[in-house]
């Protein structure tokens, strides 16, 4: 908590002669990332969507570095989870590939745009986006096994269908998707936001796959993780090549989130996920408001 309090007062403190020693920041970053890892798993959101507004709002690092770290954080989590998801059939490469291609092209465009726009503009837009995500999380419904009356022409041509074994239901689940062109458009938009703000994109991938395209929820979650691993890679290269990857920011964050996620996974059985989800929504609300006010120059 002391480290969090320190982080809160960072921007003003950094300007002072008695600013905290530099090594406190990676430690505070580790502590905050560890907490993000825990609540991220419990609330079912990726680390990037919490990391960027919180660290961007309350730490002294420029938003360019925070967005790059957010992407790498989301990327590391997605890369770590993807092999098991692919092996278990909970992620489908066939379904993911067209969406990832569109998303990765637009994420590169988003990253380039983010680095070209004035910081205040990106900061304000980040705040608005986070507040929109809060609304999405608050209102979004989920469907375990959506009805797909018939696949669309593109889904049929690409044979976007399959079967996976659901251990919880102890049965095979046959799936197919529809509204593929709309899904591609949605993933283009999601990729743009992911690259622009370094948010990862699980918060948007899953509703699009599940509610719009009709993929079963578990397949949507698994496939979203795989799509993330490709989309975030593309945008991350833009930041990487621009020199926006600071190891002192990235490494403690990745380690913190991954360790926190392991603890979070253990706590899943004993903590009420709905309570944590409400806490995350309030946390995002505060971080989004902070980003917006900082961007507008009202609270610096």
């Amino acid at each position: 908590m002391t480290l969090l309090a320190l982080a809160w007062s960072a921007p003003a403190a950094a300007a002072d002669a008695g600013a905290p020693a530099w090594w406190l920041w990676p430690l505070a970053l580790f502590a905050v990332s560890f907490a993000i890892g825990i609540v991220g798993v419990l609330a079912g959101v990726g680390g990037g969507v919490l990391f960027v507004p919180i660290v961007g709002g309350f730490f002294p690092f420029h938003l360019d570095f925070v967005r790059a770290a957010g992407l790498l954080l989301a990327l590391s989590g997605a890369l770590s989870a993807a092999p098991a998801l692919l092996r278990s059939g909970m992620a489908s490469m066939r379904l993911a590939m067209p969406l990832a291609l569109v998303g990765s092209i637009s994420s590169i465009a988003g990253a380039m745009l983010g680095l070209a726009l004035p910081t205040q503009t990106v900061q304000s837009a980040l705040g608005v986006t986070i507040l929109a995500i809060v609304l999405l999380m608050w209102r979004a419904k989920k469907s375990g096994y959506p009805e797909v009356p018939a696949p669309d022409a593109l889904a049929a041509a690409l044979r976007l269908h399959g079967v996976f074994y659901d251990p919880a239901a102890a049965r095979d689940v046959h799936w197919r998707v529809h509204r593929t062109p709309l899904g591609l458009v949605a993933f283009a938009g999601i990729g743009l936001l992911a690259g622009l703000f370094g948010l990862g994109a699980g918060w948007a991938n899953v509703p699009v796959l599940n509610l719009l395209m009709g993929a079963p929820l578990k397949l949507a979650v698994g496939t979203s993780g795989f799509v993330l691993s490709v989309v975030d890679t593309s945008a991350a290269w833009v930041y990487f090549n621009r020199g926006a990857v600071l190891p002192l920011l990235v490494a403690p964050s990745i380690v913190g989130v991954m360790l926190g996620a392991k603890i979070g996974a253990r706590l899943l059985r004993v903590v009420r996920a709905s309570t944590v989800r409400r806490i995350v929504i309030w946390l995002l609300l505060a971080a989004g408001a902070r980003a917006l006010l900082k961007g507008l120059g009202i609270w610096n």
Partner: protein, 138 residues
């Protein structure tokens, strides 16, 4: 092979295996290099105090302030404590490209021409992004 495995396309299993190894190697390299960097066992190119004075600047101003390279220029500094960390990060970021290239001939071998085309396009996008020709490296 379990019954589950038989329903999963072979290229998906190969992709998963390569991704697993690439990710493990990248994270291990990152953890080891960060330990060397943070513990002061490998001297950084940009001293910590100078870094702390510059990390609140936009990236282009930061690079000018500390004399940091863009693009792949960091490779010449890869033995310095800070830039050493970029080896693991670059490996993590290259893994998807390598896995996609590995899966491409498997799609072709199974007659999945549409997916092979998408994999080829995806590999091109990732390679172009990695090369830094899309506005990343200035």
């Amino acid at each position: 092979m379990s019954p589950q495995d038989e329903r999963i396309p072979p290229e998906q299993l190969v992709y998963a295996r390569w991704l697993d190894w690439g990710t493990r190697a990248g994270l291990a390299l990152l953890a080891a290099s960060f330990a060397l960097y943070a513990l002061g066992l490998a001297a950084p190119q940009v001293p910590f105090e100078q870094l702390a004075r510059a990390w609140s600047l936009p990236v282009d101003q930061y690079r000018a302030a500390v004399g940091a390279p863009a693009g792949w220029g960091w490779l010449t500094l890869a033995l310095r404590g800070d830039y050493m960390n970029l080896v693991g990060i670059a490996l993590l970021a290259l893994t998807s490209l390598v896995c996609t290239l590995r899966a491409l001939p498997l799609f072709l071998a199974r007659g999945e021409r549409a997916l092979a085309l998408i994999a080829g396009l995806q590999a091109t996008v990732l390679a172009v992004a990695a090369a830094g020709v899309l506005g990343g490296a200035h």
